[in-house]
């Protein structure tokens, strides 16, 4: 596009509102988050009852020496991995299925999926809790396991939350990949069929490469979302499970800050989570660049 005089100024004017909001409500808080993580910042410091003590990396060394933190980190990664893999498998399989059935069947599936997608996390978590309720839940009734608690055992509880997360996040993957499959020109698939390629061969050597950029996008998006799950864990395990055994990093940070009034320590957990996700972003950008896509 040709440059016109005053372009820079106009571009800045268009960007100004967005920049104002983003700097004020994301940039500044990120700076504050890092700052707070360097101090011993508790209830007494907030109310002005005690002077602020600069700890440097003190909160971080406390964290790294804390077995609890490592356990939470490990289960956060495992939980997110299960959610991501589950979401992608279900979403991809259903996108392929949707592309092979007539409109009425596809619309039925999409409508159901839109329902799951649209359900607010709070409502969704509550519904699932009730479905799996020990005494009044329908699932126990069907399985004949009345009285069995799905939220007591640590891994069963994690599994239940993961199932709920997959339920409400596979539709995004499904709808996006379905759109991608539909965007593949019919001639390409016909040519493959004429060349005698089997369905499986067409899927792996024609469709997969064409869908690769999209798959990268939905994978990264899923990783980001599932690593940051908060509401489902908070509600379904009542704030992180019995004795906090179902904590993930995000909930752990929140509990340290707002329940234990250890704002400094909570902020340092937040910083660690952010850094971990930034590493993923870097991988994303590299993958995009390698697949030849310009920014």
């Amino acid at each position: 596009m040709s440059m016109r005089r005053g372009d820079g100024r106009i571009a800045f004017a268009y960007l100004a509102p967005a920049l104002l909001v983003l700097v004020g409500l994301m940039g500044y808080p990120i700076y504050q988050l890092v700052l707070i993580s360097l101090f011993d910042y508790g209830q007494e410091q907030v109310s002005g009852g005690a002077p602020l003590t600069f700890l440097g990396l003190g909160n971080y060394t406390t964290l790294l020496a804390d077995a609890r933190f490592w356990a939470v980190l490990g289960q956060t990664v495992a939980f997110a991995a299960v959610c991501v893999v589950g979401t992608l498998l279900v979403g991809t399989a259903l996108a392929v299925l949707a592309s092979r059935v007539r409109t009425w069947a596809r619309m039925t599936l999409f409508l159901a999926a839109l329902g799951a997608w649209a359900t607010p996390a709070v409502a969704g978590s509550t519904i699932w809790l009730f479905l799996f309720d020990a005494n009044f839940g329908f699932v126990n009734e069907v399985l004949g396991t009345t009285g069995f608690s799905w939220t007591y055992d640590k891994w069963v509880a994690f599994g239940l939350v993961a199932a709920q997360v997959i339920w409400c996040s596979f539709p995004f993957v499904m709808v996006t990949l379905y759109a991608g499959i539909k965007a593949i020109p019919g001639e390409v698939l016909e040519a493959a069929a004429l060349d005698g390629a089997s369905t499986a061969k067409t899927a792996t050597s024609v469709m997969l490469p064409l869908l690769r950029p999209l798959l990268i996008v939905v994978t990264i998006q899923s990783i980001i979302w599932d690593f940051k799950v908060f509401t489902q864990i908070y509600i379904m395990t009542s704030g992180g499970g019995i004795a906090g055994r179902n904590l993930v990093l995000n909930v752990y940070a929140y509990q340290q800050a707002f329940a234990a009034s250890e704002y400094g320590l909570g902020a340092s957990i937040g910083v660690v989570t952010t850094v971990l996700l930034l590493v993923v972003t870097a991988a994303y950008l590299r993958a995009l660049r390698r697949s030849g896509e310009a920014l």
Binding site: M3, G8, Q32, A105, T126, L214, N250
Partner: protein
């Protein structure tokens, strides 16, 4: 001949599987509405049935009257609508600047937009809590305990993705169109609002849906910011009022969940074609 029959059979099986999966996916929602309509005794029956012969609106009445759900519903609507309108306007302008103009810091800004999406917003509750505390002293409406604070944070959190997504749609509008409009004597301003804005409508719809859901579904910030002003709570928090250790009023909880889910569901179904078109558009770009 045989091939056609085979194809029909396999398509029939695929369609059967599709319907069964759709039923499983939709089941939790069916159960929610069903429970909301069941009489109280059936809800806590040890032998739950997947139907009811005596549907009643008692649970809805309880949800709306006992805990003034109506008020919270209104609060949620105010916040979500404000976020959608502001984010539409701001992200459209920003996306235009980032696609239609060349300037030095453009790539840096684009990378920043991606990076800020990775920031776990939950971690930012801590500094934002203190930010909102200070805002309260300057402009109370936008500070702690007021709906304005929720509008501000959700606006900030929905902008990066909205701008990122709209970029593709703005870029898809041919530059020649702008040149033609300029030749016809249209000002930049008129081109922006009368030509470009309608053309990127599918993208705007898609991003609006996401911004709306962001704001409507939020539990964390409502919980953190609205601490002592019960009248300014939003639905997700109000729902938790019914959750009590060992004696949950499941009927009212499910009625409240239904009330909270329906607006999003209707909104989604209304725009679903455009949403799919929007995502496909984002794909093609």
């Amino acid at each position: 001949m045989n091939g056609t029959v085979n194809r029909r059979v396999s398509r029939g099986i695929a369609e059967g599987v599709t319907v069964v999966i759709a039923a499983v996916v939709a089941f939790p929602l069916y159960w929610m509405v069903l429970t909301a309509l069941k009489p109280a005794a059936e809800v806590i029956s040890a032998d739950p049935r997947p139907w009811t012969l005596a549907p009643t609106l008692d649970s809805f009445v309880r949800a709306l009257t006992v805990q003034s759900f109506g008020r919270y519903l209104l609060n949620s609507i105010v916040v979500a609508v404000a976020v959608v309108l502001l984010s539409l306007l701001i992200s459209f302008l920003a996306a235009t600047a980032l696609t239609r103009f060349e300037f030095r810091s453009r790539t840096t800004l684009l990378i920043m937009l991606l990076v800020v999406q990775m920031v776990p917003v939950e971690a930012l509750t801590i500094p934002l809590f203190f930010v909102m505390q200070s805002v309260r002293d300057v402009a109370p409406v936008f500070g702690l305990n007021h709906l304005g604070s929720l509008v501000l944070v959700h606006l900030a959190f929905s902008l990066p993705f909205a701008i990122w997504m709209l970029r593709g749609f703005v870029a898809a509008v041919p530059v020649e169109l702008e040149e033609a409009a300029t030749l016809d004597g249209a000002s930049r301003f008129r081109f922006l609002w009368q030509v470009l804005f309608p053309l990127v409508a599918p993208g705007l719809v898609a991003t609006s849906v996401l911004s709306f859901i962001h704001a409507w579904n939020d539990f964390l910030f409502a919980k953190t910011f609205i601490i002592s002003a019960a009248e300014n709570q939003t639905l997700p928090l109000a729902l938790q009022v019914f959750v009590k250790p060992d004696q949950n009023d499941w009927g009212a909880i499910m009625a409240g969940s239904t009330l909270m889910t329906i607006p999003v569901l209707v909104f989604f179904i209304l725009v679903q074609r455009r949403l799919v078109a929007g995502l496909a558009g984002a794909v093609k770009s």
